[in-house]
């Protein structure tokens, strides 16, 4: 008869069994942490994960993850792990670590620890089953928590960057008294178009501008919604007493505007930025005179 070494007394409930088993396996995993951690780090390197990090860095993070992992197994609480996962993500995302790498290393640790449990309890199938019943839900929860934490952090970073790009890319620049330039680069979506209009109108009011040159050389194409929005921007600027000159329309955009039947009488356009500024200066009554001396 096989020695029922680790079988708990029959009077325990399944939940109590799980708790006892978990404590026991956590203790074992803790005792052997150095060996198991090394195994895990080696698997990470062999799997060519976390290439962006040095071996020392991987080892340092592995230590923290390993200890957090055991803590979750023991207490069942993922809060500390969630906090750690967020913190870890904040640090490694700028290093270029990808989602599949993060999930990969957590799953590798799961495998390393599972194999350890197989080797320890494998001789007794009934006990092994109980051990796995206790271990697997906790291990899965850990993988999910870390994965979700990482993805959420990435999404937060992306949102932040999008916001920064949006703010950066619609500067309103005073270049002369009463003359503003609004250089637009990149794709304009309806949200950006709206932001553009708001910034332009505020710029007109704050700088008391009479003419605005809106240059769209850097805009590859626009759709009907955005085209109408541009027309609205021109009209709104007029209500504030400013004239908008649109410059730098690509052939594609010119085609779009004609096709959708935009009222071109409402739009003052000039081919390029240089022409636009010259026209603006003319409207404002400036005259640019060349002096005979050339600066050297």
């Amino acid at each position: 008869m096989a020695e029922a070494r680790n079988l708990p007394p029959v009077t325990q409930t399944p939940a109590e069994t799980t708790t006892v088993l978990l404590s026991e396996l956590v203790a074992h995993l803790r005792q052997n942490r150095t060996r198991l951690r090394e195994q895990w780090v080696q698997r990470i390197i062999d799997g060519q994960l976390l290439m962006a990090m040095s071996k020392e860095e991987i080892f340092a993070e592995a230590t923290s993850v390993y200890d957090s992992y055991l803590e979750v197994l023991e207490t069942g609480s993922v809060e500390a792990l969630q906090a750690y996962a967020r913190n870890l993500s904040e640090r490694i995302i700028p290093r270029g670590v990808e989602t599949h790498e993060v999930l990969g290393i957590v799953l590798l640790l799961r495998d390393v620890l599972a194999r350890e449990l197989f080797s320890k309890y494998g001789s007794d199938f009934a006990v092994l089953n109980q051990v796995l019943d206790a271990y697997e839900p906790a291990a899965n929860r850990i993988a999910t928590t870390v994965g979700v934490g990482f993805v959420e952090e990435r999404e937060r970073v992306i949102r932040q960057q999008q916001e920064a790009i949006r703010e950066l890319s619609t500067p309103v620049l005073p270049v002369r008294e009463r003359l503003l330039i609004l250089p637009i680069i990149g794709v304009i979506d309806p949200q950006r178009a709206r932001q553009l209009t708001e910034q332009l109108l505020l710029g007109i009011r704050n700088n008391r501008a009479k003419v605005v040159v809106m240059d769209i050389t850097g805009v590859p194409a626009i759709d009907v919604k955005v085209a109408n929005h541009l027309v609205q921007t021109v009209e709104a600027a007029r209500l504030l007493g400013a004239t908008v000159i649109v410059t730098g329309l690509s052939p594609e955009i010119a085609q779009t505007l004609v096709t959708i039947g935009v009222d071109l009488g409402k739009m003052n356009t000039v081919g390029d930025l240089q022409g636009g500024i010259e026209e603006a200066e003319r409207l404002l009554g400036y005259k640019v005179v060349s002096t005979s001396k050339v600066a050297d």
């Binding site: 708001e198 109108l201 008391r208 009479k210 009209e235 709104a236 209500l239």
Partner: protein, 124 residues
């Protein structure tokens, strides 16, 4: 609530202080037109800086004012439309077609002066 109307040389200046009812707007329009005739004004400035909302009735009334003033020999300029009001107006299609606009009172006066080529010193 009546809108104060000031006479400055050949110009009339009406400064809207707060939200106007439809009736106030109609009264303003009628007062201005009456005064244009009485004083033989050449210019009308309506300052809407204090208006934080412009609905279709207001826009239509201001447009009517401008056209009526023109028929009686005066050029109208609407000044002080705020950025967010302008934004809302264009979205609703309230364009104030054919009505001159300027950023503020100073710009409005400059515009009228330019129209009539009156020198700064010459203006009473």
């Amino acid at each position: 609530m009546a809108v104060p109307i000031l006479k400055q040389g050949g110009y009339l200046i009406a400064t809207v202080q707060a939200a106007l009812t439809d009736r106030d707007l109609a009264e303003l329009r009628d007062s201005l037109i009456e005064r244009v005739g009485r004083y033989r004004s050449r210019g009308v400035i309506v300052d809407v800086t204090a208006l934080d909302v412009m609905d279709s009735y207001a826009a239509r009334t201001l447009r009517d004012l401008a056209y009526m003033a023109k028929l009686r020999g005066a050029q109208t300029v609407i000044v002080g439309i705020q950025p967010d009001v302008a934004f809302a107006m264009v979205q609703l299609g309230l364009m104030l077609e054919g009505v001159a606009t300027a950023l503020d009172l100073e710009e409005g006066l400059a515009f009228l002066d330019q129209q009539f080529e009156t020198s700064q010193q010459g203006r009473v």
